[in-house]
Assembly symmetry: C2
Homo-oligomer: 202 residues x 2
């Protein structure tokens, strides 16, 4: 069961995540967190001694949640195309409320200013995504529902990058609609010619 301690920690991580996604790691302070949850800054230090500690804990939780989301997709749908559709929805859920960046897209740009353990976590997050995507893309191509050149790993890297980049520009223009548009475009781009008749009308 969740102890009070863990509840508070989770609350701190929630606020920290929101602030980082909105402003970036170098533009939020322990004071900002404290103010939002109604305590003093020292209370935040009690739970996470340093900013780097907080960052690492946050990244670990974020990665754990990613794994849960990807597992959930794998359990709930079997078609590779449907998996990718669900995957794009994860990005939409992040972006939609208030044009948040993906936590890792944000930390990726700031990576040179992060501690070593945080850097490691950020890279691992990128890798987790690319690995999962590569598997789905490989499966899809093997069973004929996808068609693309090169290795699944290379395609995965590009698709993941595209989604990150689209989140960025959707944020810059405050046009969350760019994400679903790009998602459809990507799916169409890797669809074999033989299946194009199945596309929904535009």
């Amino acid at each position: 069961m969740p102890t009070l301690h863990n509840v508070r920690q989770a609350q701190i991580l929630d606020v920290a995540q929101e602030l980082i996604q909105l402003r970036g790691y170098n533009a939020f302070s322990f004071g900002d967190i404290a103010e939002r949850i109604g305590v003093r800054a020292a209370a935040v230090h009690y739970h996470f001694p340093t900013k780097a500690d907080l960052g690492v804990a946050l990244m670990r939780r974020y990665r754990t949640r990613l794994h849960a989301s990807l597992n959930s997709i794998d359990e709930q749908v079997t078609s590779p195309r449907k998996k990718l559709e669900r995957y794009v929805l994860l990005f939409q859920a992040t972006l939609k409320p208030d044009h948040r960046m993906c936590l890792c897209g944000m930390l990726g740009t700031e990576i040179t200013t992060l501690s070593d353990p945080m850097r490691t976590e950020v890279r691992a997050f990128f890798e987790d995504n690319e690995t999962w995507l590569a598997r789905v893309l490989g499966d899809g191509r093997r069973q004929g529902s996808f068609d693309f050149d090169g290795s699944p790993a290379a395609a995965a890297r590009i698709i993941y990058s595209t989604l990150q980049g689209v989140m960025l520009s959707a944020r810059v223009f405050e046009e969350a609609g760019r994400l679903p548009t790009a998602g459809r475009w990507l799916l169409d781009a890797i669809m074999p010619p033989s299946m194009e008749a199945l596309l929904p009308p535009r």
Copy 2:
């Protein structure tokens, strides 16, 4: 001719640009700039009263240079495909030396922390890119060298986003090679089937 004043201003902008591309807007100070050019921080304030002033001046210069680069491409090559190849080279030139982000990719993630005039400049930079790309894509499709669904503007948005996203992951993994790979993939993705025989061997 360039006055001493302008030389110093340019020098400050050079250092500021490098620092922002490497660390971000919220992770550099006037002191950092001063140290690198061998003056005191107040000297930087003499040329650019506030950080926001510096940022706006930097963005304006960056945009002017973008326009020069795009004009140069338009003058030097006529084939839409060759134009895109040259365009990708612009990104490579930015990324290559030390895994720098595009100045605007960096500022885009930090956009909520920027002054209004800076935000405007960042958005304008994105728009300039997308507008140019849309024109090249439209031209290319009209003359049969490209094939893609949807409006040229929509394709331009996605391609630009992809390049931004690829820069981000190339930086995260310190693998500059991801950019040319993605560039080739993108060009292939919008190439009509009839021309696939012309692809270079892999």
